[in-house]
């Protein structure tokens, strides 16, 4: 199955620093990482990894809405001591606001140390640093971590480069669709399949660190939530009931799972420890209550309910008390997801004649904005940065693909997947 070692984070001193101003695009210089071991050559050597990692970092940063990277150029190579004493005047002259330096160093045990430093070019001030020990074949993750150092220095938000996206990979015809749960790195690499495609599966939801995954499977004849450990591949039902259970979502600390359970014509929300045990009921209103999502501090829950006759968004305390409707814009509101920074709730809005569109609204019901044009956009899931969403767009031919959209708006960008994709879910930043 998917086996991922945790990166060993070095205890470099991290100076918490205020982010640069938000808003316009920031230019960041990414000259090639250096190495104190330039004489070792070949694949996996510090020099080779340094060059590959530099290119991946530039590519990561280009994929954001907030940063433009001056890509690595061999002639900008610097020496090992210059990692922490770079030439700021040179990068000022090139118009860069930020500079990312770093190194790759061989260790006696065969692994590599990768270190990265972000600087404000104007002031020469260090904005962040991180170091990692990785096996040579895990250099991509270290590069993603370096990209995160740069992104955090620019925006103050967590990096989204060392994250994973789970989704449903779809093949076959519309009449005989084959669906498999897939997990990939957020840059589209390291595709793995969690289920075999012999039964319909829906809505994978990653634990915050992408160690486990909850999803809905028709195994046994009814849709029910199952939980799979992504390291061992071990699976189990979330709760041992005959009823239909669906719409799972982890709490921000990964300790609990929200889900919906059908009982006759009713569907209500429940919460259960991620490890199992007795579920606790949160809602009792007649109607369909589903798609619950915790606030980042786990004190509140947003969910959808059609108790008023149409699907609308409601916010309640984590124990189910104080349920209050927050959507009043007309039409239907569904599939809410609370942003990791707590500022926004993403949703799907259904308007007669306009189809399904993804939007955001403040938790108090103000500031509603639609981000996508539809007509068949759904399943929004936040990036760890809270600045971006991944969602599913279905075409007129019934085929679905994954797209990313910035909170600031703009055109959605296609996320490349080997097959059609639906129900995306974006993890938090990995350890």
């Amino acid at each position: 199955m998917i086996f991922r070692r945790r990166l060993l984070a070095l205890t470099l001193i991290f100076l918490a620093s205020p982010a640069l101003g938000q808003g316009p695009v920031t230019v960041i210089a990414v000259p090639p990482l250096t190495t104190p071991d330039p004489k070792i050559s070949g694949e996996g050597s510090p020099l080779a990894v340094a060059w590959q990692a530099s290119q991946l970092i530039a590519s990561d940063l280009r994929s954001t809405a907030e940063l433009v990277a001056i890509p690595p150029d061999q002639k900008d190579y610097y020496s090992f001591p210059e990692v922490t004493a770079p030439s700021f005047s040179k990068w000022r002259a090139k118009g860069a606001k930020l500079l990312l330096t770093g190194f790759v160093r061989a260790r006696p045990d065969g692994r590599l140390t990768v270190g990265c430093y972000a600087y404000n070019v104007q002031t020469g001030r260090e904005l962040g640093r991180k170091g990692f020990v990785v096996a040579p074949d895990e250099w991509r993750r270290a590069a993603h971590k370096c990209s995160g150092v740069a992104y955090t220095a620019a925006t103050g938000a967590p990096g989204i480069f060392d994250t994973r996206i789970a989704y449903v990979a779809e093949t076959g015809t519309a009449a005989a669709r084959v669906k498999r749960i897939a997990v990939m790195d957020s840059d589209g690499t390291a595709q793995t399949y969690v289920t075999a495609g012999d039964t319909i599966v829906l809505t994978p939801r990653l634990s915050p660190k992408a160690e486990s995954l909850a999803y809905v499977s028709y195994v046994g004849g009814q849709p029910r939530v199952r939980v799979v450990d992504l390291d061992s591949g071990e699976q189990r039902p979330l709760v041992a009931v005959d009823a239909m259970t669906f719409a799972p979502r982890y709490s921000p600390d990964g300790q609990r799972i929200l889900f919906a359970m059908q009982s006759g014509p009713n569907t209500d929300l429940y919460v259960v420890d991620a490890g199992g045990g007795a579920a606790r009921r949160l809602t009792t209103a007649p109607g369909i209550d589903t798609d619950a999502s915790f606030s980042p501090d786990s004190s509140r829950i947003v969910f959808e309910s059609d108790r008023s006759g149409t699907q609308q968004l409601y916010v309640m305390a984590a124990d189910g008390s104080g349920q209050r409707r927050i959507s009043f814009g007309g039409g239907w509101y569904a599939a809410p997801a609370w942003s990791p920074d707590g500022e926004w709730i993403a949703f799907v809005r259904r308007l007669p004649g306009a189809g399904l569109r993804v939007g955001v609204i403040k938790p108090d019901g103000s500031g509603e904005r639609l981000l996508t044009a539809g007509p068949a956009d759904e399943s929004p899931s936040w990036a760890a940065s809270s600045q971006e969403l991944v969602f599913q767009r279905t075409g007129p031919d019934g085929r679905s693909a994954l797209y990313r959209i910035s909170l600031a708006g703009g055109e959605p960008r296609r996320v490349a997947t080997p097959q059609d994709g639906s129900d995306p879910d974006w993890s938090g930043t990995l350890d």
Binding site: T203, P223, M244, T267, I288, T290, L356, T394
Partner: protein, 157 residues
């Protein structure tokens, strides 16, 4: 009887043996024993008119037409207590994934309860929601959506 004979013919000797069943004067002949799920399904459609009922947008309420179809289905099912049935609820693609699952379940439940009300033993009737996973008709036209908002009475065995 014509519709019945066609599927029965597939079963050769067994079917012919049933055709020779004696009719006792003054009493309605017992319904012939149908063999095989395909024959049962064909008979079910022939006798009840349809194995499907349709719903309005965002609705789980039974229309007059749906009630008439279900009344015929209930009558057939009462005559075939040995046949197990799965009530399969569907939603259209204009709904979101999870709500579609719940609406499909609600529609299936509505149909199941109505059949029970009409005397079909509850133990005969299982139900499942397919949400919007098994659309009958592709497309986003009003007609396509209407044809997908359905509950299908599936004879299992």
């Amino acid at each position: 009887m014509r519709a019945l004979l066609i599927p029965l013919a597939l079963f050769g000797g067994a079917a012919q043996a049933q055709m020779l069943q004696r009719v006792i004067p003054g009493r309605a002949p017992p319904p012939p024993m149908l063999l095989g799920i395909d024959a049962l399904r064909a008979d079910f459609i022939a006798k009840t008119g349809s194995d499907k009922v349709y719903f309005g947008g965002d609705s789980s309420g039974l229309t007059e037409q749906a009630r008439a179809t279900l009344a015929a289905q209930a009558q057939w099912l009462r005559q075939h207590p040995e046949v197990l049935v799965r009530i399969e609820g569907h939603a259209d693609a204009s709904d979101t994934r999870d709500h579609a699952l719940a609406v499909g379940a609600r529609r299936a439940e509505e149909v199941r309860n109505y059949l029970i009300l009409l005397g079909v033993p509850a133990a005969q009737l299982a139900s499942v929601s397919w949400g919007k996973e098994r659309v009958a008709v592709q497309g986003s036209s009003a007609e396509a959506l209407a044809l997908n908002r359905r509950v299908v009475t599936v004879l299992v065995r």
